[in-house]
């Protein structure tokens, strides 16, 4: 009841994901069945929880009945000892209720949390296995939203929804049975309000669900507008867009207000209506029950107990509609979670995969054809060769397929045709771990993990000693700037790496790759220009990094290209020229042309 609070306004936590509430899907049985698979290992705990729930509900319902017994058998007959006894029983029963509720909540929440934990971990583990294709397709925000918001919606259902659902049902049926047992006629009269309440709930259920969803969508709009405005605030101010934006925000905000007011109208009608129907029940019991007393068919105690049960009857019904909402959103979430879990990793280890032995001879691309979308090949029959210890440079215009080549080498994708071999072994026949452990990859945009600089370098080889970290930093020329931070290697950096310049981040990435000491280095040189000193540092670092390794480099630096043992000119998914720098220049073909365009423009100047 605490955790489930919120209710109005749709809960800010859900706001960021827009793709959610669009289709209000029904409770899907298949999905629930799969959910059950996660619950299954904990079935005994759940069973125990449910048994305790029975005790809780029944002991909770005993109140009005005990009052009836007290009135009819002891108070009206003047049995003092009986009155005391019944009061003590009452007290004892609720002591039991307290203990049972406590253990039930504890067991259920522990079990529920364990299930959620298992789902969350399963999802996370699965995400680690999914290939780049998946990450190309979905933005980080959307992926995250499933692991956080959706799992949390499920969490709400498991931790508070299920318990109150079961409790509410037990309470409703318990009351119905007790009432029928106590007095059949009076029970039937009281039940005449049930159709009313069902009609009411049915009428409002659809409208309220719709209204709540609308609120969720509207608040998501507000959040999206906000988020964008805040992250783009500098641009907004630079372009003096404040007024236009305020107007737009106001209209989004207004729509949100309208949606909320609609919910306010509905709830303001619904809850008093439930109470009104409850009052109808009460007045019916008073009127009809009173006449029954007159005819001595019903005792005063029974009447009082009935009045108690009628009031209790409407509370769970009111709750049920809320639980139903919880249930709906949890089902939608579960569906979304399983959608991810069903996502097949496109790069899979073959069953009999072996360890890849250290590269000793060569890497080859043989007639490799590949497209992110198989119908649109990006690489068309590419043949490449790199001998151990050689640097191979890939050059060519943007979109030619250079990045795809290095992505295939790391087996981040699999080619549709042809094969890639390391010392003659197809890389699809070896374990991913043994393949990637031999490789160091430095990508264009350097990713810095939040943590210390030391940890970031060590990411290349977790067991590296501090000395090794320092040695790697020294080797790439990062040591000096690191020491310039007051905390040196223990300086905390964050994901955006805002303390570090572009060049510094690149040096860190080099150090990270160097410490991993890979046999094969895959490098995508950054195009971003950095200041001249850093540029020189980077070039020197690169040379260190490349020395003695087999390397595939998407090269933008002339120095790198010139030093390469072989240059492959890639154009439109094909190798159009290959050879050493001077050979290619002499040939005066595509390379020579590219060379002039790219580098002449950049530095050509005196």
């Amino acid at each position: 009841m605490w955790a489930g609070g919120g209710g109005f306004g749709g809960g800010p936590g859900h706001g960021f994901d827009r793709a959610d509430g669009a289709g209000l899907s029904r409770i899907n049985r298949k999905v629930l069945l799969r959910l059950w698979e996660h619950i299954w290992p904990f079935r005994f705990y759940f069973l125990l929880g449910v048994i305790l729930m029975f005790i809780v509900s029944l002991s909770g319902l005993a109140g009005p009945y005990l009052l009836k017994v007290a009135i009819d058998q002891y108070i009206t007959r003047g049995d003092l000892a009986g009155v005391t006894r019944i009061a003590l029983i009452y007290l004892g029963l609720f002591l039991l209720n307290w203990l049972a509720t406590y253990s039930q909540t504890y067991i259920i929440s522990w079990t529920g949390q364990s299930v959620i934990f298992s789902i969350r971990m399963g999802l996370f583990q699965h995400l680690q296995r999914l290939g780049f294709t998946f990450y190309d397709r979905l933005e980080a925000g959307r992926i995250m939203s499933r692991v956080t918001n959706d799992v949390d919606a499920l969490n709400q259902l498991v931790s508070s929804g299920l318990v109150s659902l079961v409790n509410d049902f037990l309470t409703i049926f318990g009351i119905i049975i007790i009432m029928i047992k106590m007095d059949y006629h009076l029970a039937l009269v009281s039940f005449t309000t049930i159709p009313l309440i069902i009609a009411l709930v049915a009428f409002f259920q659809i409208r309220m669900t719709r209204a709540f969803h609308r609120v969720r969508r509207r608040i998501a709009d507000v959040n999206a507008t906000l988020q964008e405005s805040i992250s783009g605030m500098k641009t907004i101010q630079a372009f003096s867009r404040e007024e236009v934006n305020l107007q737009r925000f106001d209209s989004t905000n207004q729509e949100n207000l309208q949606a909320n007011l609609q919910v306010a109208t509905l709830t303001s009608v619904f809850f008093p209506m439930v109470e009104l129907i409850g009052a109808i029940g009460t007045s019916l019991v008073v009127w009809y029950g009173g006449w029954q007393i007159a005819g001595h068919q019903v005792s005063l105690g029974t009447l009082v107990a009935f009045l108690g049960y009628v009031t209790r009857f409407f509370m769970p019904i009111r709750d049920l509609s809320q639980v139903y909402n919880l249930f709906l959103s949890a089902t939608v979430s579960t569906e979304r979670i399983f959608e991810f879990l069903d996502e097949e990793p496109d790069v899979k280890e073959s069953p009999g995969a072996e360890e890849l032995l250290p590269l000793s001879r060569e890497i080859r691309f043989e007639e490799v054809t590949f497209g992110y979308d198989p119908s649109l090949p990006v690489l068309k029959g590419v043949n490449l060769q790199a001998r151990a210890g050689e640097t191979v440079a890939l050059v060519g215009p943007t979109g030619a397929g250079k990045t795809s080549i290095i992505n295939l080498l790391g087996r981040f994708y699999d080619p549709q045709d042809g094969r890639i071999t390391v010392d003659g072994t197809d890389i699809r026949a070896v374990t991913l771990l043994s393949l990637r452990r031999q490789m160091g990859v430095v990508l264009q945009d350097t990713f810095i993990f939040s943590g210390t600089i030391k940890e970031n370098i060590r990411y290349g080889r977790l067991e590296a000693t501090d000395e090794e970290v320092v040695a790697a930093a020294q080797a790439v020329g990062a040591h000096d700037f690191i020491l310039r931070f007051p905390e040196g290697y223990d300086t905390e950096v964050n994901e955006r790496g805002s303390k570090l310049s572009v060049g510094q981040r690149q040096l860190l990435a080099f150090a990270r790759a160097l410490i991993a000491n890979p046999r094969i280095l895959i490098l995508d040189e950054a195009t971003s220009s950095v200041d001249a000193y850093t540029e020189l540092l980077i070039q020197q670092a690169l040379e260190r990094l490349l020395a003695g390794r087999t390397a595939f480099v998407i090269a933008h630096r002339l120095s790198t290209i010139r030093n390469a043992a072989r240059i492959y000119v890639i154009e439109d998914g094909r190798v159009v020229e290959s050879g050493r720098h001077d050979e290619l220049l002499a040939r005066d073909g595509r390379y020579a042309e590219l060379y002039q365009k790219q580098f002449a423009g950049a530095v050509a100047t005196h």
Partner: protein
């Protein structure tokens, strides 16, 4: 709000609570009549709630006990009618208060948003998006709940509590005292719960934040994770956080599982006391059975308010904390704002002057120190310097993204602080270092600074920024939605859209901060060509690292630690042999390093072929006749053999250029 104090008085009422509350109530003021009617309605509704048990007592004592069964129908009718009236009033009351709270929240959101737009760059340098977001979403939502439900519930509970107590004492004061025996325990339990459970929930949220951060890093850094085959390590990290999250959740649930049923138990204990003592009294004839039954019913009404108090204390504390955060934001003053006497800046000529301008972000470490610089309309100024030398800070002073801490910046002779921000910024086109595009169509993005622009204007700007051809390859062309929810653009494409956006403003002053850093050299070259004519008519400031961009400026200034250390044209600076020529050679060096056959480090610029001899660049007026000078075939080290493809590399533009001339034209026009 006396009650609010009484209720919140339990635990963490900070000294500022009253102040916050008073300020919060200010926002209610425009709707005071609604708040007032709602309070009046609550009073009536709570009062009507007391009627039903009284009628039950009357039915039992007057009707059933005495065989006066004709009372039954009126009693049932009264119960029903009271419920109808009460229902109608409850509706009115609920709606009024929710309307009010939603209105207040709406006002507050607009107020906050507007305020955010006023806050200066200095604020956004430090603020985290997530933090600000949560103030406008989660905090505002908490306030909504507090104002909409919390306050109502509190007042209604107080009314009910006092009403029930009065009625009970009127019925039988001894029985009242007996049944109240459990109340102190109930209050204590509520207090304990508010004190213990709340921090626990806070810890759960904290851990959720940690978990989310770990997750986010994993997802955004997935390429690195996979490249280093660190999946297991990542699973380990996440598992640790996830397990802790679970642990805290269970702990919170357990605490709650103790207190909530405990309150139920106390309620039951009260009932047991009523049955026991009341029962005895009835048998002794000192109490009517009806009173006993009414007592029992009233008791359930009494217990609810107390239990809700726990919820309320929790909600109130959260609301206070949220208000504090919201007010804190509202109280943040914009560092840069229009002065009271600010005038609109007339159509600009484009003259810019830095007059002993100094600047510091924190008031301690100087970023710019005594900058003096005068730029004539139409001139292009290139700014060069190492990272952190103050380049961006310098140009940020022109549109007043920051204010100088000393000296002044003048545009057309007027201090930028004396004109309105809007008139100033509207006439300055900016391409910032980090390109931010909005989730909207390309058309809207390009027309961002000039929403009324025609399609022709948009296309012209896009063509100049060399993004038009790319846009035409998209299925929906200019109507393609980009950004987070649309087509992803590469860094270079984004920059080009940003350039188009700035160009479309048709501003007299253009500020380009590393505007082509993510564009490959070839495209950059093409953009520059397009810029050439655009820049002619405008005063522009260009920050760039590639010397090819810089060298054609009318004037180059070199910044070092916030000071201008060199100033002049390319030729002048190369000739002076200062920092500029050093940087220049360093960059050349990078390009030529290890020429064919010489695959070693220790590059030595001097001993290569004449092509990149540093001296070559200084040759004054070199290649004045427009024929590619030897220097332009740089880097090949094989003069005569290199691919002299005529114009394509002869662009150097040195030809025909008068060093030091005030206004230069067509820097980038290769063919002339």
């Amino acid at each position: 709000m006396k009650g609010g104090r009484a209720g919140g008085g339990s635990s963490a009422v900070q000294p500022g609570t009253m102040k916050i509350l008073r300020r919060l109530l200010q926002y209610q003021r425009p709707y005071w009549y609604l708040v007032f009617s709602s309070l009046a309605l609550i009073f009536v509704v709570s009062g009507l709630g007391l009627v039903t048990p009284w009628i039950l007592k009357w039915v039992v004592d007057e009707g059933l006990s005495r065989g006066n069964y004709r009372l039954l129908l009126p009693a049932a009718l009264v119960i029903f009618l009271v419920a109808v009236v009460r229902g109608a009033l409850t509706f009115a009351q609920r709606y009024t208060i929710q309307y009010t709270s939603n209105r207040i929240i709406y006002d507050l959101r607009n107020l906050l948003y507007n305020h955010l737009q006023q806050l200066s760059f200095g604020f956004y340098d430090q603020a985290q998006t997530g933090q600000l977001m949560s103030r406008l979403t989660a905090d505002v939502e908490t306030l909504n709940q507090f104002l909409g439900m919390g306050l109502v519930q509190l007042t209604s509970n107080i009314f009910t509590f006092l009403g029930v107590l009065t009625v009970l004492f009127g019925l039988d004061w001894r029985l009242t005292l007996v049944s109240m025996a459990t109340m102190p325990f109930l209050f204590y339990a509520v207090y304990q719960m508010a004190r213990k459970v709340r921090p626990m929930f806070y810890q759960v949220q904290q851990q959720m934040a940690v978990l989310t951060a770990t997750l986010q890093e994993n997802v955004t850094g997935m390429r690195v994770v996979k490249a280093f085959a660190r999946e297991d390590h990542e699973v380990g990290k996440f598992q640790k956080d996830s397990r802790e999250y679970m642990r805290r959740n269970v702990t919170a649930a357990r605490l709650q599982a103790f207190y909530v049923p405990f309150m139920n138990f106390l309620t039951a204990a009260s009932t047991a006391l009523i049955i026991w003592y009341g029962g005895l009294e009835v048998t002794r004839g000192r109490l009517s059975l009806g009173t006993l039954i009414a007592f029992n019913t009233y008791l359930t009404q009494l217990v609810m308010p107390v239990r809700m108090l726990g919820l309320f204390v929790n909600l109130a504390e959260r609301a206070m904390a949220s208000s504090q955060r919201i007010f804190e934001l509202l109280d943040t003053r914009a560092e840069v704002q229009d002065s009271p006497t600010a005038r609109p800046l007339p159509r600009l000529g484009g003259h810019v002057r830095f007059d002993h301008a100094s600047f510091s972000y924190d008031g301690k470490v100087p970023v710019l120190d005594d900058i003096n610089l005068e730029v004539q309309p139409g001139q292009t100024i290139a700014i060069l310097g190492a990272t952190g030398s103050g380049k961006s800070s310098l140009i940020n002073l022109i549109p007043r993204f920051y204010d100088v801490t000393g000296g002044r910046v003048l545009i057309d002779g007027q201090d930028v602080r004396d004109v309105t921000l809007e008139s100033l910024r509207r006439q300055i086109g900016v391409v910032t270092q980090e390109t931010f595009l909005f989730s909207a169509t390309l058309r809207e993005n390009i027309a961002y600074g000039k929403p009324e622009a025609t399609m022709e204007e948009i296309i012209r700007a896009a063509k100049a920024a060399h993004i038009h051809d790319f846009i035409m390859t998209l299925p929906r062309r200019y109507d393609t939605i980009i950004g987070e929810r649309g087509v992803g653009l590469s860094g270079g494409q984004k920059q080009r859209v940003a350039i188009a956006r700035a160009l479309l403003m048709d501003a007299r002053i253009l500020l380009l901060d590393e505007s082509t850093s993510s564009v490959d050299a070839e495209t950059e070259y093409r953009i520059q060509k397009a810029f050439a004519e655009l820049l002619q008519r405008r005063t522009s400031f260009i920050i760039a690292q590639r010397l090819s961009t810089v060298r054609n400026a009318d004037r180059i200034i070199v910044l070092e630690r916030g000071r201008i250390v060199e100033e002049g044209t390319h030729e002048e600076l190369l000739g002076s042999g200062g920092i500029y020529s050093r940087i220049y050679h360093l960059q050349l060096l990078g390009q030529k390093e290890a020429a064919p056959g010489e695959r070693s480090s220790a590059p030595d610029p001097v001993e290569e072929g004449s092509g990149y001899h540093p001296g070559a660049g200084i040759r004054p007026g070199g290649a004045a006749e427009g024929r590619p000078g030897p220097g332009m075939s740089f880097g090949l080290g094989q003069p005569g053999k290199g691919p002299h493809r005529g114009g394509s590399i002869s662009q150097a533009g040195v030809g025909g250029r008068k060093p030091g001339a005030g206004v230069s034209s067509s820097h980038f026009d290769p063919l002339k």
